[in-house]
Amino acid sequence: MRYAVLAVPDFALHALRRGEPGLVGRPLALVAGEGRRARLTEVSNEAFGVAPGLAATLAMSRCPGIVLRARDPGAEVEAHRLLMAAAFTLSPRVESTGPGCCTVDLQGGDPARSEALMRLRAAELAGAGLPLRAGAGATPLLASYAARCADPVLIVRDPKSFLAPLPLLFADPTPGQEEILRGWGVATLGALTALPKAEVGRRMGAEGVLLWERAAGESQRVLRLAEPARSFAAEWAYEPPVESIEPLFFKLRRFAERVALELRGAGFVAEKLSLTLLLEDETDHRREFRLPEPGADVDGWMRVLNSHLETVRTDARVAGVRLVAAPARPQERQEGLFDAGLRDPASFWENLARVAAIVGDDRVGTPVPTDTHRPDAFTMERPAEAVAPPAQAPVHPPCGPVLRRFRPPWPVRVVCDAGRPIRLEEGRLEGRVCAALGPWRGAGDWWKPGAWVAETWQVEMEGGGVYQVTCTGDGWGVEGMLD
């Protein structure tokens, strides 16, 4: 097989339906013309008793509940871009043949891989609301015949036996040619190609030869190649503006499916996602998401976007949405033999992103103490992919119980005798101190703004419990409990 054709039957109908969740499963027809002249052009399988060409009024009486809609050019453009994105994952040489149809030059590719990819894309696009039919053959024409007969993928390996039973209409005869051939008793492509080509040409002229060649699937043509996507973005305007997040989720998933396919076709993954909600009051809400792990997994993207959108409140209705994916090369690395890495990196990073959406980006991560003596100084960093082997045991192992901090420290009044705390008063922690250790004095950053000075004591309360109290410039405070 050298060429493949990806086509979506009733393309305009499916493009409209995949953009509106309310139309799924309902009888639907596309209408052209207005008033009495309105006629059905495409009809969904759910609409019984009606057919293309029927007057709209008649269709409504024959099929109560039928939804009549005009074509939606915006939805068709979006759906065609999805189809093209799917085609570019098969080969970089793709022609946009027509609405809902594209031809792919597969020359040089591995046939088995191409077939597997076509099946995969057909399943993916069916899930995305576009029932794709894919056919492959030695010529673009043969591939297009195969696509018309496919369910959902058909590879033509023996053109003669494939073409023989196909009706003559596949070769697009003119009405005159059709009448002549009917008179000869020719109704299939096989019957026509059984006649000598030269004899057909002698009786029907050059047009007859072209028809014979089309019937034999021999017509060759040069593909008008399309350029692959260079920006990975999608935008939609809502009319009327929306107030709830369900339409946003629905549209974003559709966008994400297309953008992810475009990225995959170009050999990229997304590193960052940028979401913009265009509001009715002409302001916008923007948010950029750095993906924990670069990827082109739509479900992963949607989890990140959903986590954010569920918490968003806007002052005005949403009039439009824009999603932009920043491309990056996929990460390729080999784990060390003894690395204790993540079992499921995608789930790890996604879950961290979900937790970050709940508590805040700066409140999740691995704490790294800062190189200073300032109490409670640390930064939150991105967790490591692999758990490193333990370092050598420290020369001075940690001593004593561990401090559990009260953030912020509890203000307290400390009564001292000869410089030692003997009683805590006027705070959440009160009582007599039965033993005290200290003081530990510290100071730092005196050469710059934010200088600090602290005097720390560890005190054991008469009622039980060991606490750490500190005197800073702001007064005394209970820093935490030694626990």
Binding site: F348, T366, V368, V387, C399, G400, V466
Partner: protein, 218 residues
């Protein structure tokens, strides 16, 4: 007519036969590296189960348990998540080396902690998830619906993560293991090596899964 103990024993056997997965004593969880706790739990925190550690007195040693758990998990090269309900963990108290495998979630309210724990317990990358609710308002914790705890238990059951819930009062309904730290540390412990401080921690077992396991084994 069989006595109550025989009836309970028969009921346990019946449940064990009907639901072998529930009755099997889970194993494979990380060691807490605190002798009293590991002895009470039969070797370490049970994987796929919740363990409640109640710090009934101030300075009961709950934070020392977390620090020891981090050290043990680092030695075993396992990952730990600490969902800190009242943002009380002090990174400076633990050697830097024992922090590299820690994912610390600093919550502002118990509600955030429950949501975060619910997510992390389902993640298959952690050996232990510590849900530290000490320092959270008791009034709020008491109002936590039982369904929240059951949901957490069901989430843990499906995986290999050990969940340690630290509280100051018994909270978790139907928890398989509830241990109580009821002996306070004193200022005299301040200079002692942490290992010996951990060795001195006293734990009272208030609820244990062990009888069912013994019944099974027997």
């Amino acid at each position: 007519m069989p006595g109550p103990s025989q009836t309970v024993s028969a009921l346990r056997s019946l449940l064990a036969a009907r639901f072998p997965e529930r009755a099997r004593r889970p194993c494979g969880g990380p060691a807490a590296a605190v002798r009293a706790i590991d002895d009470a739990l039969g070797g370490g925190l049970p994987a796929g189960r919740l363990t409640e550690l109640v710090s009934a007195v101030p300075s009961g040693g709950g934070q020392t348990v977390i620090a020891r758990l981090l050290g043990a998990a680092q030695a075993a090269r396992q990952r730990v998540a600490l969902v800190d309900g009242a943002d009380g963990f002090a990174p400076g108290e633990v050697p830097d080396d024992a922090l590299r495998h820690l994912v610390w979630v600093r919550c502002r309210a118990p509600g955030e902690a429950f949501c975060a724990a619910d997510i992390l317990v389902r993640d298959g990358n952690y050996a232990a998830v510590v849900l530290d609710l000490r320092g959270c308002a008791e009034r709020v914790l008491r109002r936590t619906p039982a369904s929240t705890w059951y949901r957490l238990q069901r989430a843990a059951e499906g995986g290999s993560v050990a969940v340690l819930v630290q509280t100051t009062l018994p909270l978790v309904p139907a928890v398989p293991w509830r241990l109580v730290l009821d002996t306070p540390l004193s200022l005299a412990d301040a200079g002692a090596p942490r290992e010996s401080v951990a060795g001195r921690l006293a734990v009272r077992t208030e609820r244990s899964h062990a009888p069912a396991a013994e019944a099974l084994a027997g």
